[in-house]
């Protein structure tokens, strides 16, 4: 199971805790265009609304350090999720975050460190040993989210009917917002452009 499938499953599992039945749920798909960037990948798209209740998953969600990169580059999770930071490289890595003000230390291949994100927000992940490495943990108060692929496409399934604010976050561009109304059993398509 790859990272994206895992995220989809987590988001769906969280949604299944809500009262609406799955058969009544809608689907939101679309494209986020990152103007001026080489790729539209790694944009976190979420559906937000007041009063959404979420429950963090029981098992930690993994963020790896592999081939000198944080993988995934952008990891959305619900508030209260524990993220497990792995090291799959043959060199030691470090993880710290200037926003959350934690430093998990430095560890070798095969080991991991956990951190629980209790507050929503965007948390940059950096490595003191390799300053070029950068990743992001995006903590949300909604279980409905996805990450765009290289072309900027995304899909959020099992969304209960209602009106939401679609928020698109990019590390390099200004966030974009759009109101979305989800109807029972009907897909909704969104196209949004982000710029500097």
């Amino acid at each position: 199971m790859n990272i994206r499938s895992c995220l989809f499953a987590v988001g769906t599992a969280s949604a299944m805790l809500l009262p609406a039945s799955a058969a009544d749920n809608g689907r939101v798909t679309g494209t986020i265009i990152a103007k001026g960037l080489r790729t539209s990948a790694d944009i976190v798209v979420s559906l937000q609304a007041p009063g959404l209740k979420v429950a963090p998953p029981a098992a930690p969600i993994e963020m790896d350090q592999k081939s000198m990169l944080f993988a995934p580059h952008a990891l959305p999770v619900v508030t209260g999720t524990t993220v497990r930071f792995l090291n799959s490289d043959a060199v030691a890595h470090n993880v710290f975050s200037p926003e959350a003000k934690y430093n998990l230390g430095t560890w070798p291949q095969g080991e991991s460190r956990d951190y629980t994100f209790d507050k929503p927000g965007v948390y940059t992940q950096l490595c003191r040993v390799h300053p070029e490495m950068e990743g992001f943990v995006v903590v949300l108060d909604t279980p409905y989210f996805a990450v765009t692929d290289r072309a900027g496409t995304f899909e959020i399934a099992n969304v209960p009917p209602g009106t939401y604010t679609l928020v698109a976050w990019s590390e390099k561009l200004k966030s974009g917002k759009q109101e979305v109304t989800v109807e029972s059993g009907k897909p909704v398509t969104v196209e949004l452009t982000l710029s500097r």
Binding site: G36, R38, L126, P131, R196
Partner: protein
Amino acid sequence: MATPLAHSFRLRPLVAGATLVLLVGLAGSRADAIPAFARKYQTSCQTCHIAYPKLNPFGEAFRLLGYRMPDETEDMVKEEPVQLGAPGYKRLWPDTVWPSSIPGAMPLSVDTTFTDYSSRAEEDGDTHTIKNDFRFPEEIGALAGGTLGETLSFFGEIAFEQEAEEGHSGFEIEVEHAQFTFNGPFGWGPAFNLKVGRFAPEITQAISHGHLLTTGGPAALLSFQPIRAHGGREVGGHHGGGGIALPHSVDGLEVYGILGHRFLYSGGLANGLGPGEESLDANSAKDVFGRVAYKIGGLPYDGSGYVPSDKNWREMSLALGLFAYRGDGDGFVVRQTGHHGDELLVDQEFTRVGFDVNLFVRDLNVIAGFARGRDSLATFEEHGGEGEHGDVELELEGVDDFTYKTWFVQGDYVLMPWLHGAVRYEWLDPASRSAPDFKRIVPNVTALIRANVKAYLEFQRDLGDSDNYVVLGALRFAF
């Protein structure tokens, strides 16, 4: 007043022929086209050049922005840079090193010129004629240029020039450019840039090779010197000092910036006449220079509002520039051998003040410049033989002020995107002992065989009483 003789040079008598030879050799460096940028952006030379290295208005903005496109976005840069630190580290400074990047590939380029050289030069009553001297190559330049993150840029050039003199030939190696620029530090954008190193100052950029179709800039403005040197050393020019003429290259610092999109200012300090005994500058006083310019119409200096066009050399614009240069040659003694015997001269203080004009009218580009130079020349008489330390005692005979005026006008015309013509007229009234009046006409035809390969024919003809000329038939390519 007795002054130790710091340096001694034997000068050729200053007649028209010698003047012509020297003026050809010093009329500006020949670089400023960097194919590495074509690789970085996966774009043709024509994006920035009318006929390389002559820049079009967009290329001028690219240069002034520190070798960056106006409003450059990540997707414009096809050659991904190597990050030396993630952007997130900016928030941690000063507890960490500020993040930056380097080019993904070594940004090296090569620029080579093959020349068929012919000339006639009269010197000391003797006429020297050269017919079809194949200088293959005449020059090979190795260039590097690019950016280092968001606020740093660099440009360098090493030139290998094949020369022949007094029965010997070989390649002279010269570092023509080695500059490092801080572009808009502290978020100041194009309003403030600091350039350090060996570079072409803004006071002569507008009339230099990067803005003219011809092989060099106007010799009358860039190469005339009231005191001239021989014996393998140059007085000023681009070897270790700002020179007595307007310099096409200096070793120093320069601040420049663009205000309100269309106002360009610059000011700098540079090594003056040199070298000294153990230093590149002969004295501690630095030459100072500055220029202001304003552009009406066309693309602004910062390239804002750029709309690409298939005829990107065309625009309707007028740019006016005012410049000034002050040099201090005190302590730098030059021996000049002339018709009146040996003279020992010190150019104690010299100034150059002038203006330049750059007019674009569709396919025609008219470039013109005027300069008035003033030199305070101190004359010394030599006494006795060499002292204990090899010094010679000098006695000041007097100080005289000399003023010269010079101007040029050049028209470059795009006949077709691959075919260009140019003609330049230069005039110099030296008003001093050192050289006769100088008038020259320079027609040129250039054909772009490819965007990075050009052939040109150029004729440099002295007018008036002189029959001196230079004919260049050349093939130049860069990659």
